[in-house]
């Protein structure tokens, strides 16, 4: 039983690290633009397919394909926001959120139109898992972990040390003050969308690298992404990372008692628990 739990915890840490990538994106948009952007789901899928085209159709190695996933999803994020969601913002956060759900359906079906419903795998060798004592871990999982950590490190460096990163944090903290200081809110919004949706795209590809992808890839993990962001505190990026690890491990450990199909219920339950007991999450500040 202990051995099983240890294996599950290990799986959970790896899954959670990958989950953190899109969770950061979701929470960043919430922090800067102040609405839950549900289109993260379809951008996860866009990234997964962009990476697939790069890898399986064009023959690029995995790491390069991940970069492609970032760029394509990021550009898609900026475009879709500029053209379709930004005009809705004056009508309020809830209207924009509804628009985001409509948009995610539109984007997902656009992908379905082009690629169909079949599962596709990346063009990578299928390798046997490594064994460390009683535990087993897949080489692909380890690679995914490395790429996720790299992505997160890049985000932290960006936010802490670059001018645009600091501008983003300023707008998230206090938009009025940031405006007075001369920070262009529109530019910050665009950049936030690019980075956040790019991260979602990377997350989508990482999820698919170990398994397969189809138009529903993003939709399947979205509840876990929300849960990670909410548990960590909506709007807090370090919170999103912590939340993602917690959700990742929680979902895997739940297999000790629940059927595998119910993993997303864990995310949902986590959201309910957090909102009832500590609405601002682990590291967040505002829930009201």
């Amino acid at each position: 039983m202990l051995g099983e739990a240890a294996q599950l915890a290990l799986n959970g840490l790896m899954a959670g690290t990958v989950l953190a990538v899109p969770a950061i994106g979701f929470t960043a948009i919430y922090a800067v633009l102040r609405f839950p952007n549900f289109t993260v789901a379809s951008h996860l899928t866009i990234g997964a397919f962009a990476g697939w085209v790069a890898n399986a159709a064009l023959g690029w190695p995995a790491a390069l394909a991940v970069a492609a996933a970032f760029v394509v999803a990021g550009v898609a994020g900026v475009l879709s926001d500029e053209l379709l969601l930004k005009p809705l913002r004056p009508a309020g956060a809830l209207t924009t959120a509804i628009g985001a759900v409509a948009l995610t359906i539109l984007l997902e079906n656009a992908l379905r139109f082009v690629f169909g419903n079949d599962l596709r795998g990346y063009d990578l060798p299928i390798r046997r898992d490594w064994r460390l004592g009683a535990l087993r871990v897949g080489p692909q999982q380890v690679e995914n972990l490395a790429m996720a950590v790299l992505a997160m490190a890049a985000v932290f460096v960006f936010l802490a040390f670059t001018r645009m990163g600091k501008a983003m944090r300023a707008v998230a903290d206090n938009p009025m003050l940031a405006g007075i200081k001369g920070i262009d809110a529109d530019r910050v919004a665009r950049l936030t969308n690019f980075v956040a949706m790019g991260l979602a795209g990377v997350g989508g590809m990482l999820v698919g690298l170990d398994t397969s992808i189809d138009p529903l890839t993003g939709f399947r993990v979205i509840l876990s992404v929300f849960a990670a962001a909410v548990v960590g505190g909506l709007g807090s990026i370090p919170g999103a990372v912590l939340g993602a690890l917690a959700i990742g491990v929680g979902e895997e450990l739940s297999l000790l008692v629940l059927a595998p199909a119910y993993r997303t219920v864990v995310g949902f339950a986590a959201i309910l628990v957090v909102l009832t007991l500590r609405p601002r999450g682990l590291l967040g500040e505002r829930a009201y």
Binding site: Q7, D118, I126, R128, D129, R131, R136, S212, P260, A261
Partner: protein, 401 residues
């Protein structure tokens, strides 16, 4: 004022679109063409078989019409795609039954689709012919409006268990997709194994839409099986085989031939698929009906489903012929066993059978899929099976028995 105008135009515009799009009502002819519906998986998990199942039926209809039709009436096929999805199947069946008013719906493949569509058929007295194998289907209260040409789960489960024991398996695990056959198969395989000295050590039912089955596989492997029965469809079995390889499983694997087919072998590396056994009900490869169909469809190795649908439409048309052209579901129900079994002249083609019927003779149709003899609840009485193994990306035939 302008606001009201724009609203009216909006509504009027919408109405115009609808009116323009409406299909004119179909002519309803008594004594006109005989309308039969086909409902096969042209897309989805069964998408490999649907198109050729349809072609087989279209060929038979063509042959019958060329020879003068059934009791002087031409056969008209209305074809729909069930997308291997019960939801879509129900909507398509509704259209076939309510709008096209077909006498029979032929060719449903997935057990879930058949189970969903069956009540619509028997309630509207439309005859349903299916290739689905799940036991639960013939046990539905269909009042005789359903026959199937596929051996049921009982028969299949027994053959699988027999074979697994014959290759030396002692500890068997089943990984099944959620479908009506999942639990009945588990039960039957478990019982048969026990009777023959083996044991069913693990059985997991999984959701068909997942991209990885790592957790389910971990669960099954914990029981240390030496043979795994992969009871799913091609898309999920593909993922299962990959995950089994990653997990380092080196025991035996066996699956239904419709799941582990040539397409799957082409999509996966040979290390992942080598050694997988497959079993399928075998068509009557020696029968004249089979040979004729193979020639017509341009293939030496017909899949069992196309053979079965060839027999479906033949049986339906012969039943209508025996009923002197009464093209209703009830007529098919009442007459199908009179032409499929019994003491009449043996025929293996619908055209020959119709000719004899017109002369007032009795017939016994033997089809491309088998003798086509049905019991009271619509199951076939017997059939042969085909055993194969995947070797280096190709199938090796082990036996037909």
């Amino acid at each position: 004022m302008s606001q009201r105008v724009s609203r009216r135009t909006f509504i009027a515009g919408g109405g115009a679109v609808l009116a323009a799009g409406m299909v004119p009502a179909l002519a309803r002819g008594q004594g006109g063409a005989i309308r039969l519906g086909t409902l096969t998986p042209l897309t989805g998990a069964g998408g490999n078989y649907g198109p050729s199942m349809l072609k087989a039926m279209q060929w038979v209809a063509g042959e019958i019409n060329a020879a003068g039709g059934v009791a002087g009436r031409k056969v008209e096929l209305v074809s729909e795609d069930d997308q291997t999805n019960p939801e879509a199947g129900v909507r398509a069946a509704r259209k076939l039954i309510d709008v096209d008013k077909v006498a029979a719906v032929m060719g449903t493949w997935a057990s879930a689709v058949t189970t969903a569509v069956a009540p619509l058929c028997w309630e509207s007295k439309t005859f349903l012919t299916t290739v689905s194998g799940s036991d639960t289907i013939t046990l539905l209260p269909h009042q005789g409006y359903l026959i199937r040409t596929q051996p049921n789960t009982q028969l299949q489960g027994k053959k699988f268990a027999d074979f697994m024991v014959s290759v030396g398996s002692k500890r068997v695990g089943i990984l099944a997709v959620q479908a009506p056959f999942a639990l009945p198969t588990q039960k039957i395989v478990g019982e048969e194994l026990k009777r023959q000295g083996g044991e069913l050590v693990a059985a997991v039912v999984y959701d068909k839409d997942k991209t990885t089955y790592r957790s389910e596989i971990d669960q099954v492997l914990r029981a240390k099986p030496d043979m795994l029965y992969l009871n799913g469809y091609t898309p999920d079995v593909t993922v299962v085989l990959k995950d089994l390889f990653k997990a380092g499983y080196t025991g035996g694997k066996i699956a239904q031939a419709y799941a582990v087919n040539q397409k799957l072998l082409g999509a996966l590396p040979t290390e992942v698929t080598d050694g997988t056994y497959t079993i399928a009900p075998s068509p009557s490869v020696d029968s004249p009906a089979y040979k004729r169909l193979a020639h017509a469809l341009g293939s030496d190795d017909l899949d069992p489903y196309s053979c079965q649908t060839h027999d479906h439409i033949s049986l339906v048309c012969l039943a209508i012929g025996h009923a002197r052209g009464d093209a209703s579901g009830t007529a098919v129900k009442d007459h199908v066993r009179k032409i499929s079994q019994g003491g009449g002249t043996r025929v293996d083609s619908a055209v020959d059978g119709l000719k004899l019927l017109a002369q007032g003779k009795e017939i016994n149709f033997d089809g491309a899929s088998g003798p086509c003899d049905f019991n009271e609840i619509g199951d076939i009485l017997d059939t042969k099976f085909r055993y194969e193994r995947a070797d280096k990306g190709k199938f090796t035939l082990l036996k037909i028995a």
